[in-house]
Amino acid sequence: MKFLAARRRQPVVALAMLLFALVTVGGLYAAAATVRPAEAAGAASSETQVEMGKQLYLEGCSSCHSLQAQGSANGPTLIGVGAAAVDFQVSTGRMPLAAPGVQSVAGPPQFNEEQTAALAAYVASLAPGPAIPSAEQVDFASADVAEGGVLFRVNCQQCHQAAGQGGALTQGKYAPSLMGATPTQMYEAMITGPESMPVFSDATLPEEDKKAIMAYVDYLQNASDPGGLSLGRLGPVTEGLFLWTAVFGALIAVAVWIGIKAR
C-alpha cells in the first residue's frame, strides 16, 4: 500500500488512469454495439419477417430515412421504392451509408441475407414497388449473348463502358464496374435506377432483353485475355500509357546502350 501511496501523485499515473478509463468505456461501447444487431435478430426471429425488418430499419436506417421511412434532409423517402431497391442497396453494401459523399460506395454487406430479406419485406410492406426478381426472372441460361451485346451497347455501355469496367460521370460521380455484379443485382438496378442510373422498365426493355444483357455481362465477367495483359480492358488509354512508359523506356535503354562507347 505504501508503494502505491508513494507513487499515486506522479503524472505518469494520471496518464495511465486516463488511458485505462478511455479503453474501458470504448471497449464496452464497441461490445454493446456489435451485440445489438444479433440481439435484435434473435428477438425478432419468433415474430414475422416484416416485424424483424422494422426493428432493423429503426436501428440501421431510420437516422437518415426517418422513423416512418418518409425521408429527411439526409435521405430520400423509401415509401414505394420496393423490395428490389432495398435488396440492391443493402446486398451490395451501399447502404447503410458509410459516409456522406457524391455517391454511396459499394463494399462488404452490413446485413446478412436473412436481415436483408427482412428489411426488403418491411419496405415493401409500406407501399407497392418493384419486387426482388424471382430465380426464373434472372435465369439467363437460354438467353442470346450476341443479342445481349447489341442491347448492352445501346443501353448500358455509355456509362458502364463497353467491357463493363465502369466509367466517370459528372462532378466526381461514377458508374461502377459490373465485374462483381450478380444477375439479381443487375436486374434490380435496371428496374429501380439506383442513384444516377436511369430506370430501364420492363416495357421498353422486356425481361427477355434483360436476360440477354445479363448473359452478355456474365460472358464479360468470365472472358479470358488470350492476347496477354488486359490492362484493365480500358482500351487505348491504358494501352497508350503502357506504350509510352514501358515500351518507350525499353527503347530508350537500348538507344543508350548503342550510344555507350565500348571499352
Binding site: 459528372t170 416495357a203 421498353t204 479470358s224 496477354g228
Partner: protein
C-alpha cells in the same frame, strides 16, 4: 575467320584515322578498346556476335516449331500476364527475340570490332559549281531567244490565257457541293433533315418496339429511333439516317422541367432529345436521372435536359436539339414535328 581479329591484333596503328582516309580530330584523344589491343578479347567479341546470330537462327526455328506444334486454343499461365494463349506468347516471344538478337549482334559487332576512330566530316556550302550555274543561265537565255517567247506576243498571251482557263472545269464541278441538281437534296439539306416527321412513331433502338408513355417511369431512359428506320436502312443502306435520327427519351417529374425549346414539347414529363452531341457528333446517352445532366464521354460536354438541353460544361457550342412529342390515336409516342434545328455538329452553311 580471323581477318578482323588479326588485323586488330597489330595494335592501334592499324586503326589510326589517317590510315583509314579520314581527317583526324585533333582535340579528342583516341583511346584504343580492349579488343583493339588484346587479340583474345577480340576473338571473344567475335564469338559473342556470332553466337547472337546463331541464337537468332535457333529462335526462328523455334517460332516455326511453335506455330506447327502448339494447339491454337491452349492457354498457359504466365506470372503478371495471367492465363494467356500459349501460341500467342510463344510466337511473339520467339520472333521478338530472333529479331532483337540480329540487331544486338550487329551493334555489338560495330561497337567492339569495327573501327571506332573519331573523325571529322567537313561541311560545304550547298551551291552548284560556278561553271554549272553559268551553263544553266546560258541555256535559259538561248531557249528564250530561239523560242521567240519575247518576240511572238500573240502566242505568249494566248498561252497564258489557256493556262489560266484550264483549272476552271474543276471549280465548276465543285459547284455541285452547294447547289444540287433538282430532286436531290443539297449537302446542307441532308445535314438539316432527319427521318423525323409529324406523326413518326418512336420505337426502341435495336428492338424496334413502339412505346407508350406509361412504359417509361419517372427517371427512365430509352434509346429510341423512328419507326421507319429499319426499312430506310434496309432499302437505301443509309446508315447516316440512323446516325441523324437517334434520340433518347427521358422522363422526369414535370415540376422539375425548368424550360423547354418549345411550349408543350414534352408529354407528361417525357422529353425527347437528339442523341448526337453538338460538338463533334459522338452518340450520348450518359444521362444522370437525379441531376438531369447528359454527359458526352468524348470531350465532357454536359447538357442540362431539364433546362432546354442547354450546355452547362464543355466544348459544345450549341444546345442539344429537342424533338417535340405527343401520342397518336393508339396511345403510342410519336413525333409532333421534325427537329426544329439541325442535329449533330455545326457545319458551314448552318451559319
Amino acid at each position: 575467320m580471323t581477318d578482323i581479329s588479326t588485323g586488330s591484333g597489330h595494335g592501334p596503328s592499324e586503326n589510326t584515322p589517317a590510315k583509314l582516309g579520314y581527317s583526324p580530330v585533333a582535340d579528342i584523344p583516341h583511346r584504343p578498346r580492349v579488343a583493339d589491343t588484346d587479340p583474345k578479347a577480340a576473338r571473344r567479341a567475335e564469338r559473342q556476335v556470332a553466337s547472337m546470330f546463331m541464337l537468332s537462327m535457333l529462335f526462328v526455328v523455334l517460332f516455326i516449331v511453335a506455330y506447327i506444334a502448339i494447339d491454337k486454343s491452349a492457354t498457359v499461365y504466365v506470372p503478371v500476364f495471367g492465363a494467356v494463349g500459349a501460341m500467342n506468347i510463344a510466337l511473339g516471344f520467339t520472333m521478338g527475340v530472333a529479331i532483337f538478337l540480329i540487331g544486338a549482334g550487329a551493334i555489338q559487332w560495330a561497337k567492339k570490332l569495327m573501327p571506332d576512330v573519331e573523325v571529322v566530316q567537313q561541311r560545304h556550302d550547298l551551291v552548284s559549281p560556278t561553271e554549272a550555274t553559268k551553263e544553266a543561265a546560258a541555256n535559259y537565255e538561248r531557249g528564250k531567244e530561239e523560242s521567240g517567247f519575247a518576240r511572238f506576243k500573240i502566242i505568249r498571251r494566248t498561252l497564258i490565257g489557256a493556262m489560266v482557263l484550264f483549272p476552271i472545269p474543276l471549280v465548276v464541278m465543285l459547284r455541285d457541293l452547294w447547289i444540287s441538281p433538282p430532286g436531290n437534296p443539297s449537302p446542307s439539306e441532308l445535314l438539316t433533315t432527319t427521318l423525323w416527321e409529324d406523326g413518326t412513331r418512336v420505337v426502341t433502338d435495336a428492338t424496334y418496339l413502339p412505346i407508350r408513355p406509361e412504359d417509361i417511369p419517372v427517371g427512365g431512359l430509352v434509346s429510341a429511333a423512328p419507326a421507319d428506320l429499319p426499312e430506310v436502312q434496309e432499302a437505301e443502306h443509309d446508315l447516316n439516317a440512323r446516325g441523324k435520327a437517334a434520340i433518347i427519351l427521358v422522363r422526369m417529374d414535370p415540376a422539375e422541367i425548368v424550360s423547354q425549346q418549345g411550349d408543350g414539347w414534352d408529354y407528361q414529363g417525357i422529353l425527347a432529345y437528339s442523341k448526337i452531341c453538338t460538338h463533334v457528333g459522338c452518340p450520348i446517352a450518359l444521362y444522370e436521372q437525379r441531376t438531369h445532366h447528359l454527359l458526352c464521354p468524348c470531350h465532357q460536354s454536359t447538357f442540362d435536359l431539364s433546362d432546354s438541353g442547354n450546355v452547362i460544361f464543355g466544348p459544345a457550342a450549341r444546345r442539344m436539339p429537342q424533338l417535340p412529342i405527343g401520342v397518336d390515336a393508339e396511345g403510342f409516342i410519336v413525333a409532333k414535328a421534325p427537329f426544329a434545328e439541325p442535329v449533330g455538329p455545326s457545319f458551314w452553311e448552318r451559319g
